[in-house]
Structure formats: structure tokens, C-alpha cells
Amino acid sequence: MTNQEVKNKIKTEEYFINMGPQHPAAHGVLRLLLTIDGEIIKNVEPDLGYIHRSIEKMCERDSYQQIVHLTDRMDYLSSNINNEAVCLTVEKALELEVSDRVKVIRTIISELTRLASHQLWWGVMGMDLGALTTYFYAFRDREMINDIFEETCGARLTMNYNIPGGLMFDIHPNFVQRTKDFITHFKTKLPEYDRLLTGNVIFEKRTKGVGILTKEDAISFGVSGPVARGSGFASDVRKHHPYSAYDRVDFKEILFTEGDTYSRYQVRMAEMWESMSIIEQLIDNIPEGAIQETTKAVIKLPKGEFYQRVETARGELGVYINSDGNKNPYRVKFRSPGFSNLSVLNHISKGVKIADLVATMASFDFVIPDIDR
């Protein structure tokens, strides 16, 4: 009997499995409907909306200062960067130029946020693949960053430190010293973490050649962030459309061409080094200047459409504000990086095993509130 005849006689059926929305290691409330045949996945259909809070509709009835507070619940691991995006859009519309001090501090805080987010990603990636110890090591360092934020911004997760026009208050006197101490500490730890996972044979076999995304697919699906840079698509907004103080620091845009999970992993590990380098370049020379530019108490943007792109830890966040001259925006759209990244998951998961899907999802670093808004 030929192979095909045998397959016809011993028919295996495809069956449906639900991964999530409650799952010990899903990255939030995401429901994936998998159609699988044995261990091989035939189709992945995401079902979203479990944490949809209609942020865009709420923005239509809130004032511009209030919108900022809604944004850090979207991608809560890069909350500072989300706040910065909205503030930059409003400042662009009002043609308001903030002082150098504000720009530099915003950049430093964004990079610290990126470090914290990548650390959590690293811990969770190890945990998803079975190396359960990485989670604890990652959180230990994240705690140090959160302590710095708590002292300066007043909160550990949803910071709201940026306001349209500048910062809410000045940095704490200890901020510079604590950040420098943290960088010194982290520089000794990051090589350790690298050794734990990067050279490990089991890890490499689980991640090399898994979940390959080509550059053309990345561009067509609108993928951005470390996922796109792992496939060779140079999409770093900090480099191509600089904002805040990114045009005065020197950093590399990390690109790998293989497009598999291992290269996405390496992109993020290298990005942590680059973030530390950016902070080091800025931390010693924070210029003096005003912390807040005066704006009217009730901000009204001129009639028109305004768009700002920033680079969060997950990719390119775009804020589109359409204003008709009133004190509330007419339409706000948040172009979330996770949404476009999720759309490519079905395309690259056809024909792989469930364990590979878990590894791929870990390397994509989804935060579901970012996708659902």
C-alpha cells in the first residue's frame, strides 16, 4: 500500500483545542482556537475582546489630559512610552516645544521602561519553555527598576509621569545615582542570563528554525518592533522618525536576518545592551530647564489630523488624533503593535507543533490589553 492509501485507511481526524483564555502561561486573556491533527497545527484563529475596554470610544468624551491616563492601561509594560506618545501628539498639534530637560528625562525613563519590559519578557520566555528559574531572576532586576520609578514617578506600573507640555513633577534627587547604580548592577547580571539560556543546547533546539517569518511577510503584515527586526526589517522608529532626545544619542539598530525565534530572542537581548548605552550617554548630562510648559487648563487642539509614532518595547505604537476644535478629540486611534504582530501568527504557525507555537508566542511577547485596547 502506498503512503496515501495507508493514510486514507487509518484516518486521523482534526480536532479543536482551545488555548486560553485562562491558561497557566498565556500572556493574558487570549483565546486561540487551534485546529490540530495529532501534534501538528493546521489553523490558529485568535479570538480577542476579553479585555476590550473601548479606550478609543472613551477618549472621545475625555479631555486631552485625561486621555493620557487611559493609555498606560493599554500596554502596561511600556506605560511610560504610551503616555509619551499621546503627549507628543498633543504637543505636535499645539506646536509646543518642550525644554531639553524634559526631552532627556523622557528618553531616560522610556529606556528604563524598555529594560523592565524586556526583563519580564526574558523571564517569561524561559518559563514558557520550561526553565522555571529565569522568572525569579528577571523579577529581581525588574523590582530595582520599579523602585526607581516609585521614587520619581510615584507608581510602579501605571506611571502617568508624562503630561501634555512636559512632566508632572521634577525627578527625585536620588534618581540619577540610583539609575547609575542599577546600570552597574545589571551589566554584571546580563552576561549571566545570557549564559543561562543562549548557549544551552536544549534552548537552541527549541528556538532555532522555529516560527520563521520572512522580511516580505513582516512588511506586508505590518509587523514591527523586535519581531520585525529579527526578520531583517529595519523598523526602529527611534532611528527612522526620531523623537524626544533620540536624535542626539548614538545607538545601533539591531537586525538579524534568520527570522526565527532564536533571532527574535537575540534582538531583545542585544536591545537591552543598547538601552543601557543610551541611558549611560544621557544620565550624566541632564540639562537644566523647565519641567512643564504652560498650557491652558482646557486644551483645545486646532482642527486637523495629527499622527505620532513611538517605539514601545513591543513595536511601533501610533497615535492618530482627529480634532474638530473642541476640548474632546473627535476620533482617537491607537495603532497597537501587538495587533499587527498577532495577525501574522496564523501564517507562520501552519504545520508546526504545539510546543513550537508556545515558543513562538513567547518570542512575540504579546501583552493582550495592548491588542484589545
Binding site: G49, K57, D217, A234, H241, K303, F306, Y307, G318
Partner: protein
Amino acid sequence: MLNQKIMKNEDLQNIINGFGTDLEFSTEASEFLNVVVPKEQLHSVCSQLKSNPDLKFNYAFCITGMDWGKELGVIYHLESTELKHQLVVKVMTDDRENPTLDSVHDIWQTADFHELEVYDFFGIKFNNHPKLRRLFLTPDWDGFPLRKDYVDEANMIVK
């Protein structure tokens, strides 16, 4: 950070004008060049935007649904990763009962998911979409929340 080789808006306008009829261009109230395309020509204009070697708009970085009060429509923010210019394409339809537009998912595959979002919140149906369904809301939800005339006493708090 303007690269000297990025095409100016006037040159873009000249090339795109040849792709269809009745295209309206404007640059006021926006930092990009805006093009309003009649809905019948959407698919052909968009595929030429992508395939034309002087334009090569291959990266759709934001696809937004919009309710202008009378018309419903979609706004596409496009960029070329090689030639670095950017463009905004708008398309609208007057029909609020049964709005339909062409799907562009075969040109930019990111439109697949974004059109699902637009359908979910505005009710715009897309022709040739592989599987149009509600993405965020439950399948039996009544109405389209992001429209300006959406009323929902239970869930909305109106100031």
C-alpha cells in the same frame, strides 16, 4: 530628518493623479499628503500605489475606521520602506445602512485584521475579505459602537 531623496508631495501627487479619476488631494490640517479616493477605484489605486516602482508603498502602518458624521470610511496611512515617503489614503461611503468597501488584504496583508476591527466597530463590510466576522465583540452584539450615533444606556456613560 528629511532625506533629500524623499519625493516631495507635489511629485507624489503628479504620479498618483494618473491612477484614477476624481482624486482629491490636500495637505492642509495634516502633516501628510491626503488623497480621497472614490470607493469604486480603491482597489486599483491601492494596488498601483504598491506596484509602481517610483512609489512602492508596501507598509500600511495604520488603518483606521472613521465616522465623519454623514459618511463612514477608512483611512490608510501608507509608507514605503525603501523610498521613505508617506501618504494618507481616505475612502468614504454615504450609505450608513449597508456600507461596503473593497478589501485590500491582498495588497497589504495587515488589512486582514484591521478590516475585521473596522467591521466590528463601524459596520463597514468589505468585499472579498476571507472571513469577515466580529473580532472583539461577541457575535450577537447589536450595533456598531464607534459610530457617532451609537446609543447604549447600559454601557455608555455620557457626560
